[in-house]
């Protein structure tokens, strides 16, 4: 099924049910369906062709949801760009994928005009928010008021649904090309293991511009549930209040969010409706699990793994969480996973190697970038089969569960040994005063790389460098103890709240 049909089917099955709540605005499936039809109608009347790219750079808002489904319904490809993207990066993306339209907030007008490279073809702009001159772009609200719905697309499952640009640890951003089938396979599987039903009320504060956030919308609309859309996790108590008052049944988070939650005073709170919480995008520090279990004793915790290039790979059944909390589980439905060493030899259980993936969830490649594509995709044994190298190091235990070790790029070579920063971070996270930590290698003439830990402390904490060192000495081997410890006020993060690894 193409993913625009998720909305069509829910409009048909649950027309009067509340589908989307964003701030003070509430939309039923029928009302959001009408707006999506109009927006798609505008694009089709304007002559959009199947596969034409439409860039969407919006915060979490009804306009973002209407844009995503509107573009897909018109047969276009959505290009998701976080609104905080720098002009330089935006410029590269626009030049790389040449969108026909771009939907953005009017307050970004100046920055956008700066981003369109001289000499390159500018997309036609559609602005949300206050009016901009007609000569500069269309107004989103005007379109919704005046456009008519106009026919249907002819797109198929293997057509491109989205291009999502990854941060790319080095160099230029890469546009991950994902088909309708990629999303359909994954949303089917995720909806099944999270046991989604039309009764679910899902809270989403992750940006819709990253795939983890987008999946919240797609899975919820596919199963006829209700999505409560928040702009971010900036005001934790407000979110906690919402979880209680709106009877939220599930939400997705990342470790930086769970770090904040575990430091809130929630002893007296109960969350009787919250069925599940999930973690992906970065490994959950082990010390968070017992703390989260205490805050959410009746809630299932799903630890998962995925990457933009194949959306989702594994999940740990929540009943395993207390015994296997270092694992992200086994491969989900339709997905084959295995580990290889640097020479391409498949590894047995107990050894650390890079994860490879085969299955219908794998991207088509990087947009307009055959060189980068050839580095991560190779042909499999069967006709049309593609194999993705993830760049993620894992150990598989004797029961077939995968345990994340680190990114191949992140491993620190110090004193001739390969050191996983994650292992050190897990130990530092045991300290209650630590809100966030990043461990990186810093070039050092003697050691090859010295280990540096950068720590964000929680409010009013009084931890000293000495105390951190003593703690590390107690839990780590000598060669793993950071030579440098620095307290910082913040760590750089990706749009999805993942702590950036690069210095």
């Amino acid at each position: 099924m193409t993913i625009d049909k998720y909305l069509d089917e829910s409009v048909f099955a649950y027309p009067d049910k509340n589908a989307l709540v964003c701030g003070s605005k509430t939309f039923t499936y029928k009302s959001i369906g009408i707006l999506v039809e109009r927006f798609a109608g505008f694009l089709l009347t304007a002559g959009i062709n199947a596969g034409d790219r439409v860039a969407i750079s919006l915060d979490n808002s009804p306009e973002a949801v209407i844009s995503i489904f509107g573009v897909l319904k018109a047969g276009g490809t959505i290009v998701l760009i976080p609104p905080g993207t720098t002009s330089e990066r935006m410029s590269y993306i626009l030049d790389n994928c040449e969108p026909r339209y771009m939907i953005a907030q009017s307050i970004k007008l100046e920055q956008l005009l700066e981003s369109v490279k001289k000499g390159s073809k500018s997309p036609a702009f559609i602005f949300t928010g206050s009016n901009v001159p007609r000569t500069v772009g269309f107004n989103f609200d005007d379109i919704l008021q005046t456009a008519n719905s106009s026919g249907n697309n002819t797109i198929k499952d293997d057509d491109v649904a989205a291009i999502v640009y990854t941060s790319g640890s080095t160099g230029k951003p890469k546009g991950v090309v994902l088909t309708h089938r990629n999303f359909d396979i994954v949303t089917d599987s995720v909806g099944e293991y999270l046991a989604h039903t039309p009764n679910d009320i899902i809270l989403n504060f992750l940006p819709l511009s990253i795939t983890y956030g987008l999946l919240q919308l797609l899975v919820t609309f596919r199963t006829g549930g209700r999505l409560i859309l928040e702009k971010g996790f900036g005001y934790p108590y407000e979110i906690i209040k919402k979880i209680k008052e709106d009877n939220i049944t599930g939400f997705a988070g990342v470790p930086t969010v769970y770090s904040i939650i575990t430091h809130l005073n929630l002893e007296k709170e109960t969350f009787p409706h919250l069925r599940y919480i999930t973690n992906a995008a970065a490994a959950m520090p082990h010390s968070f699990i017992p703390r989260l279990r205490k805050i959410f004793p009746d809630t299932k915790i799903f630890l998962m793994h995925g990457l933009t290039e194949c959306l989702r790979t594994t999940y740990l059944p929540p009943e395993e969480i207390d015994t296997r909390y270092t694992s992200v589980g086994k491969g989900m439905k339709h997905v084959q996973l295995w580990l290889e060493d640097a020479n391409g030899k498949r590894l047995p259980s107990g050894e650390v190697g890079e994860m490879f993936v085969s299955g219908p969830n794998i991207m088509k490649g990087y947009w307009n970038d055959p060189e980068s594509t050839s580095k991560v995709l190779r042909d499999g044994k069967f006709s049309g089969e593609k194999i993705l190298r993830t760049g993620d190091l894992f150990m598989m235990d004797d029961d077939g569960y995968f345990h994340f070790v680190g990114r191949t790029d992140d491993i620190i070579k110090s004193r001739g040994k390969k050191i996983s920063p994650l292992e050190i971070e897990n130990v530092i996270y045991l300290l209650d005063d630590v809100l966030e930590v990043r461990v990186v290698g810093v070039p050092d003439t003697l050691l090859g790389n010295a280990i540096k830990a950068e720590i964000v402390l929680k409010k009013n904490a009084e931890l000293t460098v000495e105390q951190v060192k003593v703690h590390c000495k107690k839990h780590l081997e000598d060669f793993q103890i950071p030579q440098m410890i620095e307290f910082v006020s913040a760590l750089p993060k990706s749009a999805g709240g993942k702590i950036k690894r690069m210095l």
């Binding site: 970004k108 702009k231 971010g232 996790f233 900036g234 108590y237 930086t256 913040a490």
Partner: protein
């Protein structure tokens, strides 16, 4: 304390800390979170700055977007807090 002074301090702190340019002007009415100027932990950083700069303490229930999500909202909220000390 006059609102203008608060507004300037807050605006400069945000520009310097999150946009790495103290002279960069931010529209006072835009949503700081929604436009990606600051992220979740950035909010905590901003709150801790405001508490130490103005020697005030925020209650948990005051930490909501309505009080902090734009320079305008922060200015209004801080001046109200200062009046009540």
């Amino acid at each position: 304390m006059v609102d203008d002074e608060i507004r300037n301090n807050v605006s400069q702190f945000i520009s310097k800390t999150f946009l790495f340019d103290p002279n960069k002007k931010i529209d006072e009415e835009i949503s700081l979170l929604g436009t990606g100027v600051i992220d979740s932990t950035g909010v905590l950083e901003l709150i801790s700055y405001l508490e130490s700069k103005y020697q005030i303490k925020f209650e948990d229930e005051e930490l909501i977007g309505e009080n902090f999500d734009s320079i305008e909202k922060i200015t209004g909220f801080i001046s109200k807090k200062l009046l009540n000390i």
